[in-house]
């Protein structure tokens, strides 16, 4: 168990984990597979990546969560310190801001350009809210995501008080709400794609809507949905660890970091809902 004096020892062990390197190798191999168009290489990369994730999770489930200050702990500094992992999470979220901005910006540019310049192959206006998309249903989904943010932050508050039962309950609620969000989105996609005929290349027949409406819709909401999926997987892991008693009042950083990511995905949805559905 984590006594304050054994924290340094634990950090050494964390430092020695080979799994992040294996994960990075998997991603590298998969990327080479994508660039060179080699399916076997891509699959090999995915298998190495998944194995690395599995190994890392297996290793991490064995020990309690603890903050990690790295070499910075030995250096005098006037700045208040922040755990290296939390810093890493914020840095990743900064790159995610740029990633989502690129996707949303590209879609918005296409929308404005086709409205003003009118490229000959992509004629037609953008769909108005509710013309194709089901705004009330997605409004409900937005509410579900907000609820999941509340349960997530309450889970963190619970373990900060040392309340294991509420930690587990709130994490489980967050997980279920995330799965509900994804299920509604899957239902929406199925209805739009097969029912309405909003595909990657065509708008619904007879609607006169610009054919770029479909691909930009799926790109923006799909990239977000994949992030929610990753969040649900992270939540499943954190919940499992919570049920194994892996978090204590003093050591629960994984709950906080998973929460940071989860709330960020909520923030992205706040803008996507406005831009894709309401405007």
């Amino acid at each position: 168990m984590a006594h304050p004096e054994s924290v340094g020892e634990g950090e050494e062990e964390h430092h020695g984990s080979p799994w992040p390197v294996i994960i990075a190798v998997g991603m590298g191999v998969a990327y080479v597979g994508i660039v060179s168009g080699s399916i076997p290489l891509l699959l090999a990369g995915v298998v190495i990546f998944a194995g690395g994730i599995g190994g890392w999770i297996h290793q991490d489930l064995q020990r309690p969560s603890s903050p990690f200050y790295g070499l910075a702990a030995a250096v005098e500094s006037r700045l208040p310190r922040v755990s290296a992992r939390k810093l890493g999470m914020w840095l990743m979220l900064a790159t995610e801001i740029m990633f989502f901005s690129a996707i949303i910006g590209a879609s918005w540019t296409l929308r404005l350009r086709t409205a003003t310049v009118g490229l000959p192959t992509f004629q037609g206006p953008w769909a108005t809210p509710n013309q194709i998309l089901n705004v009330p249903l997605t409004g409900l989904n937005t509410f579900i995501l907000i609820c999941s943010s509340l349960t997530m932050v309450e889970a963190l508050a619970a373990i900060e008080r040392g309340d294991q039962t509420k930690l587990r309950l709130f994490l489980l609620a967050t997980l279920l709400l995330g799965i509900t969000f994804l299920s509604i989105q899957a239902f929406e996609y199925q209805h739009l794609f097969f029912g309405e005929g909003l595909t990657f290349t065509h708008a619904p027949a007879g609607s006169g809507v610009n054919p770029l409406y479909g691909p930009t819709f799926y790109a923006q909401t799909g990239v977000h949905g994949s992030h929610v999926t990753a969040g649900v997987l992270a939540m499943a892991y954190v919940t499992r660890k919570a049920f194994k008693g892996g978090f204590t009042k003093e050591n629960h950083e994984a709950v906080e970091l998973a929460g940071l990511y989860w709330h960020f995905v909520d923030v992205v949805w706040i803008f996507l809902f406005t831009i894709v559905y309401l405007i």
Binding site: L79, V135, P136, S149, V153, H263, F273, T274, L278
Partner: protein, 102 residues
Amino acid sequence: MSETATATHATGAVEELKKRPYVVVFVVLAVVTLVELSVYSLGLPHLETIIILVILATVKASLVVAYYMHLRYEPRWVALIPLAGLALVAVLVAALTATVAH
């Protein structure tokens, strides 16, 4: 907005951990979402609708980042990280605007 002001006021540094206004923020988020849904159905001119909705979304996102992501309670300099991302977003938006205007 008055709820937001109250929430900001309620969190003194002393009672920080005990009384973080999570539920208040949740209620504000839910209410603003309802306002968003009614704004779009009002049938205002497009530009006005866009401006109002983007402001409302920014309010919601700021609340989540400040309270749920605890940025309010972190050392000040941590906020520079997402701000650096946003600075590059500003460059992107400026470049795309120039493209569209061209």
